[in-house]
C-alpha cells in the first residue's frame, strides 16, 4: 500500500525548472506520482487511503466527569442550576470535551457506584480502556454569579492536575449560564492532558451573505452565540485575526473602492492596512509584528510584507502572474502562497524577504487557498480533483500529500489554534455553510445550518473573554 512518503514530489531545495522536472519524474514514477487521480482510478467510491483516514481514532483519552456538587446554588435559587437549554452543566462540559476529538467522556454519579467494566461514554459506546483522568466540580456563588470550581485529577494516582475556577453566569444576567467558562475549562484540560493548545474558547469570524450584502459574523466553536459583527450595508470579506490582540482585518467595499482594513474589536476603530489596487486577505505572522498581503497597487497581484499596521510595505514577488493568498509558517520565516505563474494556480514557498522561492505543488490543475498550521509544517489547501474542489494537506517539505474531503465544494480552510481542526466552507445545493474537519481522523462536524449562506471563515487564537460585536463580555 502506498505510504504517505510516496506522495508528493521529490525532496530537495530549489527547483528552477520545476515543472519540467516534475513532469519527467512523474513519467518515471508513474502511478505513484499521479496518485491524486489514481486514488479514484481504483474504481471504488471510497479509496483505500481515504478509508484509513476516516476510521475511528483509537487514541482518544477516556475521561470521567462526576456529578457536580450544587448545594450552594440550589439553596440560593431554590432549584438546580442548569444551562438555558435545560441540560446539566457537567453534561454540556462533556459534550465540549468530546468535540475536541481528543477525549471520550463518561459520566458518573458523585461517589461512584458504576461497575467500571461496563462504563459507556456519552455517545453510548463502551469505554474499552482505563479511565485516565477524572473531573470533579462544585458550583458556587460569588455575589449573584455562579462559578464552577473544577478539578482535574489523574485517575490512577488521584493527583490533582488542575484546579481552577470559571465564571458560568452570563455578564449582567447571573441566572443565565453561559458556555464560555466551560470552553475555557475544556481548553485547560486539553493543555494539561494532551499538551496542545485548545480551540474551544475561541471565536470564528465568517462572512454571511444576505441579498447583495456580505457582512462579518462571529460564532463560537460549537456553532452557538452567532452574532453580526458589521452592518455596513456593503461587501466585506476575507476576515483575518491578529494572533494576540482583539483585532480583525478584512477587505471592505464600504468606502467605494476595496480596501484592506483592520478593526480594533474593543473600540471598533478602523485603520487602513492597504488601499490602491485590489487587495487580498492579510496574513498575520504568529508574532503579530508583521503582515503579508496581496495587492494590485502596482498593476499586478503581488505579495507584500509590512509591519502589523501596514507601514513599511515591501514587495516580495516579481512576476507577471497572480501572486496571492499568503500564509506564514509558525516560525515566521517562510510564507506559502498561491501563484499562477506556471499557467494555473499552484502553491509556492518564499522567505519573508523574497528569497528562496520554491514551488510546493506540481500536480493537478489547481492548488490554492493555503493555510499553514500554527503548530507544525502541515499546510491545508484547496485542490481541484476531477473538477471538484477538495481540501488536502501537504507538508512544507513537499511530502505527505493527503486528501481530506470528498464531495467537493470546499473553500477557504482555516486552522484552529490546536493545529488539528480546520474550519472551512462548503457549497452544496447552491448554498454555502461552515464545517469543521478533524485533520487526524477526517471526522466532519457541521458548524452552521445548510442554508445559512456563511463562508470565508477565520479561526481566532484562544481568547480570555468572548469577543462580541460591542466589545468583549468583560468581567
Amino acid at each position: 500500500m502506498l505510504t504517505s512518503r510516496d506522495l508528493g514530489p521529490p525532496s530537495g531545495g530549489r527547483r528552477p525548472h520545476a515543472p519540467l522536472l516534475g513532469a519527467l519524474l512523474g513519467a518515471l514514477l508513474g502511478a505513484q506520482f499521479a496518485l491524486p487521480h489514481a486514488v479514484r482510478a481504483q474504481g471504488s467510491e471510497q479509496p483505500e487511503v481515504f478509508l484509513e483516514i476516516h476510521k475511528r481514532d483509537a487514541f482518544r483519552v477516556p475521561l470521567v466527569i462526576e456529578d457536580f456538587a450544587d448545594a450552594e446554588v440550589s439553596a440560593a435559587w431554590g432549584e438546580r442550576a442548569l444551562m438555558p437549554d435545560g441540560q446539566r452543566v457537567e453534561d454540556v462540559l462533556g459534550q465540549d470535551l468530546m468535540l475536541t476529538d481528543a477525549f471520550v467522556v463518561a459520566r458518573e454519579r458523585a461517589g461512584g457506584g458504576a461497575d467500571p467494566g461496563l462504563r459507556t461514554d456519552m455517545e453510548g459506546d463502551l469505554v474499552d480502556r482505563a479511565i485516565q483522568a477524572r473531573i470533579v466540580g462544585r458550583l458556587t456563588l460569588r455575589g449573584a454569579d455562579v462559578w464552577l470550581a473544577a478539578e482535574l485529577r489523574d485517575e490512577g494516582s488521584g493527583t490533582r492536575i488542575l484546579a481552577e475556577e470559571y465564571r458560568l453566569s452570563a455578564p449582567e444576567e447571573p441566572r443565565r449560564l453561559d458556555r464560555w467558562g466551560l470552553h475555557r475549562l475544556t481548553d485547560a484540560v486539553l493543555r494539561h492532558l494532551i499538551g496542545t493548545p485548545g480551540c474551544a474558547a475561541t471565536r470564528i469570524a465568517c462572512v454571511r451573505a444576505s441579498g447583495a450584502h456580505k457582512e462579518l459574523f462571529l460564532i463560537d466553536w460549537d456553532g452557538r452565540q452567532a452574532e453580526p459583527l458589521t452592518e455596513l450595508g456593503s461587501i466585506i470579506v476575507c476576515p483575518a485575526w491578529h494572533p494576540a490582540r482583539p483585532e480583525l482585518a478584512f477587505v471592505s467595499y464600504h468606502r467605494g473602492m476595496p480596501a484592506l482594513l483592520r478593526m480594533n474589536l474593543e473600540d471598533r476603530s478602523v485603520y487602513t492596512l492597504s488601499d490602491g489596487g485590489t487587495p487580498g486577505a492579510v496574513a498575520y505572522a504568529r508574532d503579530g509584528a508583521r503582515i503579508a498581503f496581496s495587492s494590485t497597487r502596482e498593476g499586478n497581484a503581488e505579495l507584500y510584507v509590512a509591519r502589523h499596521d501596514g507601514s513599511h510595505a515591501r514587495r516580495v514577488t516579481y512576476h507577471d502572474g497572480i501572486d496571492t493568498a499568503p500564509s506564514w509558517s509558525p516560525r515566521g520565516d517562510r510564507i506559502v502562497f498561491t501563484s499562477d505563474r506556471c499557467g494555473n494556480p499552484q502553491l509556492f514557498l518564499i522567505d519573508a524577504d523574497g528569497s528562496d522561492l520554491q514551488q510546493l505543488t506540481f500536480w493537478g490543475r489547481w492548488n490554492d487557498s493555503p493555510d499553514w498550521s500554527p503548530l507544525s509544517d502541515r499546510i491545508v489547501h484547496v485542490c481541484r480533483i476531477d473538477g471538484e474542489f477538495e481540501l488536502a494537506l501537504i507538508d512544507a517539505s513537499g511530502f505527505g500529500w493527503r486528501r481530506l474531503t470528498v464531495g467537493g465544494g470546499c473553500e477557504d480552510p482555516s486552522w484552529a489554534p490546536d493545529g488539528r481542526h480546520i474550519v472551512f466552507a462548503r457549497m452544496q445545493n447552491g448554498a454555502r455553510s461552515l464545517w469543521i474537519v478533524d485533520s487526524e481522523t477526517g471526522r466532519l462536524r457541521r458548524l452552521t445550518a445548510a442554508r445559512s449562506q456563511t463562508y470565508n471563515p477565520a479561526w481566532s487564537s484562544p481568547l480570555p473573554e468572548r469577543i462580541r460585536a460591542s466589545g468583549s463580555d468583560g468581567g
Binding site: M257, P258, T296, A449
Partner: protein, 175 residues
C-alpha cells in the same frame, strides 16, 4: 553649575517629548458602530435562518446605455479577450472617443469557482485587460476607472456553466 542645570532641563524636555510621541495612538480613520442596538444580547441562534436569497440577480446588470456600452465575457480562469470581446470593446471605444467627457467604471467579475482571493485578483486582471485595450485604441486614461469584485457580486445566481459564464465578465458602468 549653570551648564549642568541647563543640561538637566534639556534632558527633561527631551524625555517629555519622547513620552508624548510614544503615548500618541494613531487617530482612527473611522469608528464602525456595532450592528443594530435593538438586537437582543446573547445567543442569536445557530445561524439557522436562511437569509434573503430571493434576489434573483444581484447588482442588477443594468446595461446602462446598453446599445452603446457592451459588457465583455471571459473563459474560465482567463482574462484574455476573444474576437467577440474585442469587437465589443472597439465599439465601446468609439463611443468613448466620441464622448470625451464620459466617465466609466469597468468592473471585473469572476464566477464562484476557485477561491475568493484568487478571484479578486482575476477580476482585477479582467478589468485591466479591458482598460488597456481601450487605452491602446485611443481612449483617454482619465475616462476609465477600474474595480474588481471577484466573485462577490455575481449577476446570476446558481450553478452550471450557463450561470458561471454570465458572471465571468467586465461590466461597464457610466458614471
Amino acid at each position: 553649575m549653570r551648564t549642568r542645570r541647563i543640561g538637566f532641563w534639556i534632558v527633561m524636555l527631551a524625555a517629555l517629548a519622547v513620552l508624548a510621541s510614544c503615548s500618541r495612538k494613531p487617530e482612527p480613520e473611522e469608528i464602525v458602530p456595532p450592528p443594530g442596538s435593538d438586537r437582543p444580547a446573547g445567543d442569536s441562534g445557530e445561524l439557522s435562518g436562511a437569509p434573503r436569497t430571493d434576489v434573483a440577480v444581484e447588482a442588477e446588470p443594468v446595461e446602462v446605455g446598453a446599445e452603446r456600452l457592451e459588457d465583455v465575457f471571459f473563459a474560465f480562469d482567463k482574462y484574455t479577450l476573444d474576437a467577440t470581446a474585442r469587437s465589443a470593446l472597439m465599439r465601446n471605444a468609439e463611443f468613448l472617443i466620441a464622448h470625451p467627457d464620459a466617465r466609466i467604471l469597468v468592473e471585473g467579475h469572476a464566477d464562484e469557482r476557485g477561491t475568493r482571493e484568487y478571484n479578486l485578483a482575476l477580476g482585477d486582471r479582467r478589468a485591466r485587460a479591458v482598460r488597456d485595450f481601450l487605452a491602446r485604441y485611443g481612449v483617454e486614461a482619465e475616462q476609465i476607472q477600474i474595480i474588481s469584485y471577484g466573485e462577490e457580486r455575481p449577476f446570476a445566481l446558481g450553478q452550471g456553466e450557463e450561470v458561471w459564464s454570465r458572471n465571468r465578465r467586465a461590466h461597464f458602468v457610466i458614471e
